[in-house]
Amino acid sequence: MAKVHLWASLRRFADGQEVVEVEAATVGQMLDALERAHPGLGPAIKAGLSVAVDGEVIANNRAAPVKPESEVFLLQRLKGG
């Protein structure tokens, strides 16, 4: 199961958990699984998130692969200048 790290102020929407484990093969599946497990995270996901999968930042690609042993960090949607 991929380990998804929530930033601190998201944890109140996930029963205070820092890490949520989800079954997912892609970033999109991972986000969907997160929302299913913790509906309170819905607005954050809808507002737009970037994620980092095993060190690689992915701005908005739901198709990017996630491996069972992947470490995922959620980030706010990143903009560039």
Binding site: G55, E56, A63, F73, Q76, G81
Partner: protein, 749 residues
């Protein structure tokens, strides 16, 4: 570290050929936004609010419409209703709804047969306002009693009990910061402030739009991203994006400020009302400064603990940022992860709130959020270094992020070049030059994520053996040249035989704008893939001609070569031969690649600046400036240096003189280049550069992206150099002479 010292075996990558658009740009032929005209074209002008916050009671355009030659007026009533989220924000910013939310907010627009007539007509549109209380300062906007500008602006993230102007909240971190502070020998805590600044591109926004009764339209516009312009304009006007064709002009600078819409949809709305005649709208400089997208202003608390040997034990920040009267615009989501990105620190806590205020809707500006965060954190690190008598580069080498470090925002860094930039800065002759009286040296590092994003590129092989590459990322600073070099390298043909064109929305799949330092990275990566696809097809054609397996053909030096058991059996078949025969060998040959590009590599830089401060006037002169930055691979080193130098110059302006000045009436007091003081030629020294190359494994040529990081270190580096020269630490930008002089006098008591 420059290309000359690194043997890469590349033939074109790393060279400095002339850019393809150079000739047009030195002869005045290049067409920018305001340079397009069409038969029957009308000119537009915009009526803007003179108030920071006001209810719009009535708009009376009858006198304007009575003028001969005035063809159309649009107000918010002409735009569709029912939009939500960011689309509604965009519409609200295009034309004010019930309320004008900042000085310069567009209220109405008019089209007429000449520019002067349109301006005359705009003056005749009478708007009745009911002025409301306003707030423009970030801290004042959160203070008890501050007027709540837009009730209900908070999103899911804002905890109960925060001020009504707070729109977003964020917190993250790791480790035990209290334990970290307890383990430190020195803990300091201060508040740092930065004022809003503007990208300051020299070309004002300009567009020509045409929209017919059938809802089909076209637009010619200066933008960093024409697909964004298309999607946003269509949303604001309630038309089908597919019916809008958007062609980007040459772009006179953007730096993030041209990644979104401001007045562009007005050309279409006016055109439709004027019977489909094309409408041109060009902003004045004061409109650009008042009503486009400056960056956020920030107020930032920083606390850092350090041991006597320079080890940083813990860090904590609380950032408050305002990005104008619209939620979601301040870069808190970027500023927080950038704050400690250069460090590997065991305990960190980051918190930020976004506040709205009666200011224009902020847009991205070169590494959005990172310069402010760097100002706060790097200034504080410098303060600790000075207090403990430590060398600022050594402290950064000791605590700096390395390959495999866990980043401050969570993920582990793959291959990064921060340490290499620090070593190069330390070894540079500038770092050893002795300083004179009233002189000081400042050091700071900076970070940007870089970006990939949605990208679509296509490449066509010509009958003459040339290649034409179609990209969708407007070329701001030489990306056509760098993409041309990579394609030349891949195809093995001369750079001059590759033509790279930025094409309109009808000619390619969707592309994100040129932002986030992604053009050379992502369009380059896709162009290389497109070239590889064409190579595969060319090998196939050669194989068919030779009647051998396609797998037994390899491509090198611009030609198909028989390989393996067939090696040497046939003379190589060049791209020119294949191209000249392609009609008869199966048809035109092209390659294309569409991807949401991943694999981008973070970029780090280290700057060293020496300044001299006039102790009697507080005026700072930059004596010498050094930029060291990891480019991954410098495809066209001259334009890499150009990005480093340009970023540094913008950062120097931010540090010393640039700021938005609002009066007590909430109006912008300096909406002209006379008083919005960007650096002029005589303000700056030559800007020395060192290109560090730690190739990014996520790109076929190791590109990281070089545009953004360079603006980040100058803010703290300059403030620290001033501290070195005077003993006075400026914690509120800009380091303007009155502020520096007051600080010097305060030291003397």
């Amino acid at each position: 570290m420059a290309r000359d010292d690194v043997k890469t075996g590349y033939k074109y990558v790393g060279t400095r050929p002339n850019r393809p658009d150079g000739l047009d740009k030195v002869t005045g032929r290049a067409r920018y936004g305001a340079d397009f005209s069409l038969p029957g074209m009308l000119w537009a002008a915009v009526v803007r609010s003179p108030h920071a916050h006001a209810r719009i009671v009535k708009i009376d355009a009858s006198k304007a419409l009575a003028l001969e030659g005035v063809k159309a007026v649009v107000t918010r009533a002409d735009l569709p209703t029912g939009l939500t989220g960011e689309d509604l924000n965009l519409q609200d910013n295009t034309l004010a709804g019930e309320k004008a939310l900042y000085d310069g907010h567009a209220v109405a627009a008019v089209a007429a047969t000449s520019q002067l007539l349109a301006q005359d007509a705009a003056r005749l549109i009478e708007v009745t306002y009911e002025v409301l209380p306003h707030v423009t300062d970030v801290d004042a906007a959160m203070a008890p009693g501050a007027p709540v500008i837009r009730p209900g602006v908070a999103d899911y993230s804002v905890p109960e009990g925060m001020h009504g102007n707070v729109a977003r909240y964020m917190e993250f971190g790791h480790g035990d910061v209290e334990a970290g502070f307890a383990a430190a020998d020195l803990v300091r805590e201060h508040t740092y402030k930065t004022e809003a600044t503007h990208q300051g591109y020299i070309e004002p926004h300009a567009a020509v739009g045409q929209l017919g009764e059938d809802g089909r339209g076209e637009m010619w516009v200066c933008t960093q991203g024409h697909w964004y312009i298309r999607r946003m304009s269509a949303a604001v006007l309630g038309i089908e994006a597919a019916n809008l064709r958007v062609t980007p002009s040459e772009i006179g600078g953007g730096f993030g400020g041209k990644t979104t819409i401001f007045m562009e949809p007005l050309t279409l709305a006016l055109s439709k009302k004027a019977g489909g005649r094309p409408v041109k709208l060009v902003m004045s400089r004061s409109e650009v400064l008042r009503a486009t997208g400056p960056t956020a202003s920030a107020s930032m608390d920083v606390k850092i603990g350090m041991k006597k040997d320079g080890t940083i034990t813990a860090g904590q920040v609380f950032f408050r940022m305002q990005g104008g009267a619209f939620p979601g615009m301040s870069p808190i989501g970027e500023a927080l992860p950038c704050a400690f990105a250069c460090y590997d620190i065991p305990a960190l806590k980051h918190e930020a709130v976004e506040v709205i205020a009666n200011r224009p809707k902020a847009a991205a500006y070169r590494a959005p959020g990172s310069p402010m965060a760097a100002f706060a954190v790097e200034s504080m690190v410098d303060e600790l270094c000075r207090e403990l008598g430590l060398d600022p580069i050594e402290v950064r080498l000791k605590n700096g992020a390395k390959n495999g470090s866990k980043s401050s925002y969570g993920p582990v860094y793959n291959v990064i070049g921060l340490q290499e930039t620090l070593e190069a800065a330390k070894a540079h002759p500038n770092y050893a030059i002795p300083l004179g009286p009233n002189q000081g040296r400042g050091v700071a590092s900076g970070f940007w994520f870089n970006h990939g994003g949605e990208t679509s590129v296509s490449l066509a092989v010509g009958e003459d053996g040339t290649a034409t590459v179609m990209i969708g990322t407007p070329d701001i600073g030489g990306s056509r040249a760098s993409i041309g070099l990579m394609v030349a390298e891949t195809l093995g043909i001369p750079y001059e035989d590759v033509r790279v064109n930025v094409v309109e929305t009808g000619a390619l799949g969707v592309n994100e704008p040129t932002h986030g330092s992604r053009a050379t990275f992502a369009s380059g990566k896709a162009a290389v893939e497109a070239a590889n696809q064409a190579i595969k097809e060319m090998c196939k054609r050669a194989a068919a001609e030779w009647e051998i397996d396609a797998e037994a053909v390899e491509w090198k030096d611009g030609a198909a070569h028989p390989a393996g058991p067939n090696a040497g059996k046939f003379p190589p078949m060049t791209i020119g031969e294949i191209g000249s025969k392609m009609g008869g060998s199966g048809g035109p040959i092209s390659g294309h690649h569409e991807v949401t590009a991943g694999g981008y590599g973070a970029s780090f830089g280290t700057h060293v600046v020496d300044v001299e401060v006039d102790p009697e006037t507080g005026r700072t002169t930059v004596l010498r400036y050094l930029v060291v930055q990891d480019a991954g691979t410098a495809i066209h080193p001259a334009y890499v240096e150009g990005q480093y130098q340009g970023g540094a110059a913008q950062g120097i302006g931010w540090a010393l003189n640039e700021e938005y000045v609002y009066g007590p009436d909430g109006r912008l007091q300096n909406p002209v280049f006379l008083d919005y003081r960007i650096p002029v030629a005589s303000d700056l020294p030559m800007i020395d550069t060192v290109i560090v190359e730690v190739p990014n494994p996520g790109h076929p040529y190791g590109v990281r992206g070089v545009g953004e990081t360079g603006i980040t270190p100058p803010l703290p580096a300059i403030a620290s150099a001033i501290a070195g020269a005077t003993g006075a630490r400026i914690r509120s930008l800009p380091c303007s002479p009155p502020k520096v002089l007051a600080a010097i006098k305060a030291l003397k008591g």
